[in-house]
């Protein structure tokens, strides 16, 4: 798939925004600035961006507890997200949802989700709706390698095939669910795609640390699904650079593992090498994006810190009734 210069710069920017958003959160959380449980997406950026760059606002995605990357890639307002994670009254969800519940339905982003496996059926519903509308729109259910063991995920795949819903089950295999290895928890020695295949779906596999590989896979998948062939599944191999949640001691990692994946499987580095070596973009182009992104993240943190806080009265809004 031939990407224009603009498309490449745009994709890189999105990946960089996600990376810096997360790296910065990691720092702020350690400083005690942010409450609650936060799951960072650093390392997996090529998946979210490789998928979402080919979607429009009319397509749907549903995300997981590790949702920041998907939200950003699907076009949620980054500052609004940062305010949300800080719990501001002007956060994207008014501070009511927090990190695990960022949504923007107008952008087709049907929500991060704190319940592992809950997203897939919801994505099928959005796909059913899209199919009825008949405009070739699709719905993508992001799931982890852990989520693929939840009954809801299987039910959703079966239902999608039965009703030929334009739904894409996008499995991000980052090798861990919390502290547990995928080879243990996914009974087929960690092979997710074959299980999806057994539901009668066409499946794709790919390197989730390579933006161009994801892009190519998704081009095929989207062509297939938009054409009305029913659902499809994709398994992408990727890495998470931080712990399961912030505070995770990560004793389950092998020696040097974190250094190795940062060195060998960094999708931003891979992108830079690829495009500069192929002379598609200059290093300076990317440096400029980097600088702009850093500034934007800095600004969004500064702004989130001083954004209006919710008051007790806000607890009682957004309900249909108060008791």
């Amino acid at each position: 798939m031939q990407l224009s210069r603009e498309q490449m710069l745009g994709a890189y920017r999105q990946m960089k925004v996600i990376r810096e958003f997360e790296e910065r959160l990691h720092v702020e959380i350690q400083k005690g600035e942010i409450a609650g449980f936060t799951h960072l997406y650093s390392g997996q950026e090529a998946v979210a961006v490789g998928v979402c760059e080919q979607l429009t606002d009319g397509d749907y995605i549903i995300s997981t507890h590790r949702g920041h990357g998907h939200c950003i890639a699907k076009g949620c307002d980054v500052k609004g997200m940062m305010r949300e994670i800080y719990g501001s009254a002007e956060g994207l969800c008014k501070g009511k949802g927090g990190s695990m519940h960022i949504a923007d339905v107008d952008k087709g982003m049907l929500g991060a989700n704190g319940i592992v496996g809950a997203g897939a059926p919801i994505a099928v519903g959005a796909a059913i709706s899209a199919k009825l509308d008949g405009q070739g729109r699709v719905s993508v259910a992001f799931s982890g390698d852990g989520a693929c063991n939840q009954g809801t995920t299987f039910e959703a795949m079966n239902l999608a095939v039965v009703v030929k819903a334009p739904c894409i089950f996008l499995f991000e295999n980052n090798h861990y669910s919390e502290h547990t290895g995928v080879d243990y928890a996914v009974a087929t020695s960690g092979d997710i795609a074959s299980r999806a295949e057994a539901f009668g779906m066409k499946v794709w596999r790919g390197n989730g640390s390579d933006f161009f590989a994801v892009t190519e896979v998704m081009r095929e998948v989207l062509e297939y699904v938009r054409a009305g062939n029913g659902p499809a599944a994709v398994e992408l191999d990727t890495e998470r650079f931080f712990g399961h949640f912030e505070g995770d001691p990560q004793r389950y990692r092998g020696p040097g593992e974190l250094d190795r994946i940062r060195a060998e499987r960094d999708c931003l580095e891979a992108f830079r090498t690829r495009v500069t070596e192929a002379k598609l973009l200059e290093g300076a182009d990317l440096d400029q994006v980097d600088a702009e992104v850093m500034q934007m993240i800095e600004a969004s943190v500064a702004e989130a810190r001083s954004a209006p806080r919710p008051t007790a009265a806000d607890v009682l809004t957004d309900v249909y009734i108060s008791y």
Partner: protein
């Protein structure tokens, strides 16, 4: 006006609303029936026959027969609703809330609040509920109490064919998720039903009988039980207000409190087990907000705290009947506070 069964009133409503609004879709197990069989799609419309004829009329895109997978069904309803449709999902028995609670409780019910008011989830879940058909411990539960406990859900329980039609119409047009409990023991019950479209707004209880001695609050299939009790009591000169809640959330507190202000005595008749159920909920609310008006303790008439047993004699003893309501009313009228308050 036409005489029709409760199931027919529901079926008519679905037809009318699907006709009126192309965003209304229905989904559930066997709601068509016969999919993938030699006999072919059936006009029978599910085991309750409430969805009969919809598939033929509106086609496979809007009338979706699903595999047995309630979480996927309810989740799909949630997703379709977020995406702008008005899905009406069928849960064959209320007891099956157990296999899909997350989608009801943690998903649908919470979207509006946890997304900061920026989403709508206009999904309806139609649920056949209740005891009285000897369906045993896993096919006879009422469950509307558990659902009333969940913030963000609207909980509706019609008591007659005409009520079912107006309330279901409102449910489908409503922008919040609605759990619509259909008393399965009344599916074949007939009543007069206006054929034209109409809505019954939520949160407005219905006064089924009037009387100034005792208030009886109830809903669903027990409305008939309460009315029978009230009629018999009326023959003894005892007058009862019988209030059909229609919706347990939103709750028409005013209707209850107004009546109790007059009568000073309340019986709550409920089909849930007693602990943390609707009877306790209403008793507590009245105990708090009409304390001074109460001339006797609120009487809660419910099944015992057990599963619903199978055998005819057992289920009969389990489900509160008119005799138990009458006894409760009589006892309240005989109450003499033993100590000064």
């Amino acid at each position: 006006m036409a005489k029709m069964q409760l199931r027919e009133a529901i079926n008519l409503t679905l037809h009318q609303e699907m006709e009126r609004d192309p965003s209304v879709i229905v989904l559930g197990e066997d709601i068509v029936g016969g999919m993938g069989t030699a006999g072919g799609p059936e006009a029978i419309g599910g085991i309750w026959k409430t969805t009969a004829g919809l598939y033929e009329k509106f086609g496979a895109g809007r009338v979706i027969d699903t595999p047995i997978s309630e979480s996927a069904i309810i989740g799909a309803a949630a997703g379709a609703a977020l995406a702008g449709k008005r899905p009406v999902a069928e849960l064959m028995f209320a007891d099956f809330v157990g296999v899909c609670l997350d989608q009801i409780w943690n998903q649908m019910a919470k979207f509006r609040y946890m997304f900061g008011g920026k989403s709508r989830c206009p999904a309806v879940i139609r649920i056949a509920y209740g005891a009285g058909r000897n369906a045993g411990p896993q096919h006879s539960q009422s469950v509307y109490g558990l659902m009333t406990a969940i913030p963000g859900l609207k909980v509706v329980i019609p008591s007659s064919p005409a009520e079912a039609k107006g309330l279901l119409t409102q449910a489908i047009r409503d922008d919040d998720p609605v759990l619509f409990f259909e008393p399965k023991a009344l599916y074949a019950t007939r009543g007069d039903v206006p054929e034209e479209e109409y809505v019954i707004p939520f949160g407005h209880a219905r006064l089924v009988r009037e009387g100034s001695d005792v208030t009886i609050v109830t809903c669903g299939q027990l409305v008939g039980t309460a009315a029978t009790a009230a009629d018999r009591l009326a023959q003894q000169g005892i007058g009862c207000d019988v209030i059909d809640l229609r919706t347990t959330s939103p709750l028409d507190e005013e209707a209850i409190l107004d009546s109790v202000e007059t009568t000073g005595r309340l019986v709550v008749l409920d089909e849930n087990p007693p602990r943390c159920g609707l009877a306790a909920d209403i008793a507590a609310m009245v105990g708090e907000k009409a304390f001074a008006a109460l001339r006797a303790p609120v009487s809660m008439v419910t099944p015992p705290h057990t599963p619903v047993p199978f055998a005819v004699e057992l289920e009969r003893a389990y489900l509160p009947d008119a005799e138990r309501v009458e006894a409760a009313v009589t006892q309240l009228l005989g109450y003499r506070g033993s100590a000064p308050r």
